[in-house]
């Protein structure tokens, strides 16, 4: 048994979400090629990877929007692979999609109300709306405004807030940094960290921006072409030569000030 396998088996005990040997197809194309990973309770786990690595497909398969061909998605020990999206939301997993995807003609308040669609407890839904407004005060200011008229950063805040309205135990965040200015990215990641600590929301965070993601995350996976190729504590990934070379753009320089050969990936 190798070291990584051992770690996964140990991790499964306190994992809210354990994905095992998941395979998902986009038509004839195999987008997820046997992925296994664990998300532990209370942690922020990030999945890094380039465009087309299968990160979004992985999230879509977990949230039930796409059906897996094979494999298990254990959520608190229950297999939710192939469940309908509304069952998954009811079970406590909410997906905050890539590119915001708000309801453009509905107001901010109506968008938030739609986040709570699966809930019946009107009183605590109102409390949660106040909670969302306390994290994103700008949304309170714009509560009667159509979501389509918000700026990109505000729409991202609305998408996260709308997700929170479902009272999730696990939040799947798909590239919250996409298309935002560095200042906004750090603001939003700050709030993501606070939500994790203060509201006890476990997060599975898919990102291309490895620096901000590893900074806020506890654990990280690196995905390439539908497979997990690295898995480690976020801090150790941040320090690893491979991640620095391929995701952080750090180049090792020789005394002559240039590189002499191209670094080879160690996992292929």
């Amino acid at each position: 048994m190798t070291l990584t396998q051992e770690r996964i088996v140990l991790g499964a005990a306190d994992a809210v979400l354990s994905v095992r040997n998941l395979e998902t197809y986009y038509g004839p194309i195999m987008a997820i090629r046997g992925v296994s990973l664990d998300v532990r309770d209370g942690q922020i786990v990030t999945v890094l990877g380039a465009n087309g690595a299968g990160k979004t497909t992985l999230l879509k398969t977990i949230s039930g929007v796409m059906e897996p061909e094979k494999g298990e998605i254990l959520y608190n020990g229950r297999d939710i692979a192939g469940a309908e999206p509304d069952e998954v939301v009811r079970a406590g997993i909410v997906h905050v999609p890539e590119g915001r995807e708000v309801f453009p003609l509905l107001t901010v308040e109506e968008n938030l109300a739609m986040g709570a669609y699966t809930r019946r407890d009107a009183a605590s839904v109102r409390d949660d709306q106040e909670m969302v407004f306390s994290y994103f005060p700008i949304l309170k200011e714009r509560r009667r405004q159509a979501a389509g008229t918000l700026s990109g950063g505000q729409q991202q805040m609305l998408a996260i807030g709308r997700g929170l309205m479902a009272r999730p135990k696990l939040m799947l965040l798909d590239e919250p940094s996409l298309g935002l200015s560095p200042l906004l990215v750090s603001e939003i990641f700050d709030i993501i960290g606070r939500l994790n600590r203060e509201q006890k929301v476990t997060m599975m965070l898919v990102e291309q921006n490895a620096v901000v993601a590893l900074d806020v995350a506890d654990y990280g996976y690196v995905m390439e072409l539908g497979r997990i190729v690295m898995a480690d504590e976020a801090q150790r990934l941040l320090e690893s030569k491979d991640v620095q070379e391929f995701y952080l753009g750090v180049k090792e320089e020789t005394q002559r000030g240039q590189k002499r050969w191209k670094q080879k990936k160690t996992w292929r």
Binding site: S63, V65, D86, F103, P104, L106, M114, G115, Y117, S151
Partner: protein, 291 residues
């Protein structure tokens, strides 16, 4: 006086067109498919009510038959979505369009088999009575059509803006994928939208039938209503009603003041002009996504 009567009868016709157009737009907004059988839904609604209330058939009282017919058409729309339309998921939209055109033929044929192809009249308490406002005499049927349409519009407005289900329908039509992510049962909502447009069509049919005789081919009014929906801006509910009313008003006035050969063309001429100069319709609801 003359003009006022033209306006009222134009409005009454326009309301019927508007209600059929509303059915087109409801389904288009939710599923991006055009239900070309919408006019035939209206026809079927009228005949179901006629079958329930006319002495020759079941002979139920009108005030019981009308809501019953509306419910039956709602169930019909719901069932149609579940049994037929849902299977077309993932097929090109043309397939759904052709399917609904064929469905229209089938409905006209079936209605002809059951209720005959001769013009028949709905035995409704509204038909053939007058109301007086001061010195003006108006047909009760026309006043009824207009007031029921206004009432229905207000109800639909509240439904879509104040109820959870209505807002969810709006949400699903604006961004279906995001609706899935929020756990909104999009498939069931689509069935409900078909049910709703069946019910609206039944109301249109009953109102139309209380203004005159009906036969299975009145389903072809759907084409005019389609033009109304396009004029108003396909995808806008108030636009659909507005488009219907515009067409309804153009008809009696052009029949009155323009030579017979040309008057029937006026509605389509307007459609043509709108498509050239305001291709998204009068009340276009366009939103471009921010990236």
């Amino acid at each position: 006086m003359d003009v006022l009567q033209l306006v009222v009868s134009g409005l009454a016709n326009g309301c019927v067109y508007g209600l059929i157009a509303l059915g087109f737009v409801l389904i288009y907004k939710a599923t991006e498919a055009v239900n070309f059988a919408q006019g035939d839904f209206m026809m079927l609604g009228a005949f179901v009510c006629l079958g329930l209330t006319n002495a020759q058939f079941l002979g139920l009282p009108f005030w019981l038959a009308a809501p019953l017919a509306i419910l039956i058409m709602g169930a019909f729309g719901y069932g149609l979505e579940v049994v037929v339309i849902r299977r077309m998921f993932g097929q090109p939209q043309v397939a759904v369009v052709i399917l609904t055109i064929a469905l229209g033929f089938v409905l006209r044929f079936v209605a002809g088999l059951i209720w005959g192809n001769q013009p028949v009249s709905l035995e409704s308490p509204i038909a053939g009575r007058d109301v007086r406002f001061g010195g003006v005499v108006l047909g009760l049927d026309e006043v009824m059509v207009i007031s029921v349409t206004v009432l229905l519009t207000v109800l639909l407005y509240f439904y879509f803006n104040r109820t959870r289900l209505g807002v969810a329908m709006q949400a699903a039509s604006q961004n279906q994928l995001a609706a899935y992510y929020m756990g909104i049962p999009v498939k069931r909502l689509n069935s409900l939208v078909w049910a709703l447009s069946g019910m609206v069509a039944a109301v249109a049919g009953i109102l139309f039938a209380s203004k005159g005789s009906i036969e299975p081919s009145i389903g072809l009014l759907g084409i005019k209503a389609f033009a109304a929906a396009v004029i108003g801006g396909f995808g806008s509910l108030p636009g659909a009603l507005l488009g219907g009313i515009i067409i309804g008003l153009i008809e009696p006035f052009s029949a009155r003041y323009i030579a017979a050969g040309y008057s029937q063309v006026m509605a389509y001429l307007l459609l043509f002009l709108i498509l050239v100069f305001r291709p998204h319709g009068i009340l276009a609801q366009i939103h471009s996504k921010k990236v």
